[in-house]
Symmetry: C2
Subunit: 246 residues, 2 copies
């Protein structure tokens, strides 16, 4: 009989930011599968467990390995950082599942970087918001541009994933220019967080003009407020609309 | 000396979907404050704890009570369902904090309904997405309309909060009409979840045309795919863009 696969959102990394059901899914599995870096974050929690890792850019091989382990009768915990359904492996797993109808899939949600980063910066996403990735590995830059423009036109607060990489060091600057040209004010409240929930967490709040000239790395999540966001004692606050002083 | 306030996202309700740090924050507090319904979900976990609740529509009174308890020297865990920074109390707390400079605020993130609902429906938010509330108690309907249109123009997947209430039973229908007029296909993959993480969880996947004519209640989170989303074995899957069959 085929094993089951649970696709687990493990949160930003630190085990204290994992949900109880994510922990239980890993504990009760026969094998934990994931990207090498994320598996290394949980190895010490489950020392007698079997592990299987693949490096970056081998995502589909990693997915197929999960199905192969399940066909061998193993119950698999397939771990993703943050939430498995936000730029994670949930979608490709469901797409592949058409080829493996005997294998049951379940997704366990986790705290994605939009939420964990927002908490460190104050309340930047406390009204309607968008989440946009600047990675053009799988998405044409024209579509990323269109989404950044639409986000500004709709006056959304924005969480930006994958703002930079070795090959794309100027993507955040380009994105800021697109947002400014779409009408975002230069002094809009912005910020970013590096290494959320891991060693070396670093936060910064700034204006959109300053964000444009900031150097960020691939472990950074960026936040752009909406037109009503403001900085309060170094925190980005996007008001919900309550009348506070009455 | 003033106590500290930790604003805690408790996830959808079930304690298994809470993070470890959310649980610890409640356990280590002197008093747990929140909306009556959410406090009732954690009372049995912390039986010897002091609790303070206020009913719906008394959000600012609830916030001010937290500061008053802190000024009395108590460490406060202020709980919100889902994530405290997504339509939660984090923003009004930071706005009020200007009046209470001696009180330290911390936010602990939690699994918001966009993530927990998405996990139950498959992977509807697995590419760029928006989160939009249809509640016009604090937001003009014109702005909600503008955001729904922008979300479709940007081809975002969408999570919709507060799709209905006793006084606004037709808001979801109006929102669907706005999205259809903005160019969303009638057969777009959609779905909704009622009572996530609580008794009576119910999921449904459907087309946008069917969603328009669905009756949902105030405990429902609605999902609208992007133009590339599709239904696979009853799950909504928004592809990330991986080439699956090569």
């Amino acid at each position: 009989m085929a094993g089951k696969i649970i696709i687990v959102g493990m949160g930003p990394g630190d085990s204290s930011m994992m949900t109880g059901e994510a922990f239980e899914a890993m504990k009760n599995s026969d094998i934990i599968v994931g990207y090498t870096v994320y598996v290394d974050l949980v190895r010490n929690l489950f020392e007698d467990k079997e592990f299987f890792t693949t490096p970056m850019k081998q995502e589909i091989e990693r997915c197929k390995a999960c199905f192969d382990f399940a066909l061998d009768g193993k119950n698999v915990a397939f771990i993703c950082s943050g939430d498995a359904g936000v730029y994670g492996m949930a979608a490709p797993m469901y797409e592949l599942s058409e080829q493996y109808p005997e294998v049951e899939l379940t997704v366990i949600p986790g705290v994605t970087a939009a939420l964990s980063g927002a908490a460190l910066l104050g309340a930047p996403l406390n009204h309607d918001f968008c989440v946009i990735s600047l990675s053009d590995l799988l998405t044409p830059w024209e579509l990323i541009t269109k989404r950044l423009e639409a986000a500004i036109h709709g006056d959304f607060a924005i969480a930006i994933y994958n703002p930079s990489s070795k090959k794309r060091h100027d993507h955040l600057q380009k994105a800021c220019d697109i947002m400014i040209n779409a009408g975002a004010e230069l002094d809009r409240a912005c910020g970013y967080v590096e290494n959320i929930g891991r060693d070396g967490t670093k936060t910064c709040t700034c204006t959109l003009r300053e964000l444009r000239d900031s150097e960020v790395n691939m472990f950074t999540t960026v936040f752009v407020g909406n037109s009503r966001s403001r900085l309060i004692n170094g925190k980005i606050v996007t008001p919900r609309g309550y009348r506070i002083n009455e």
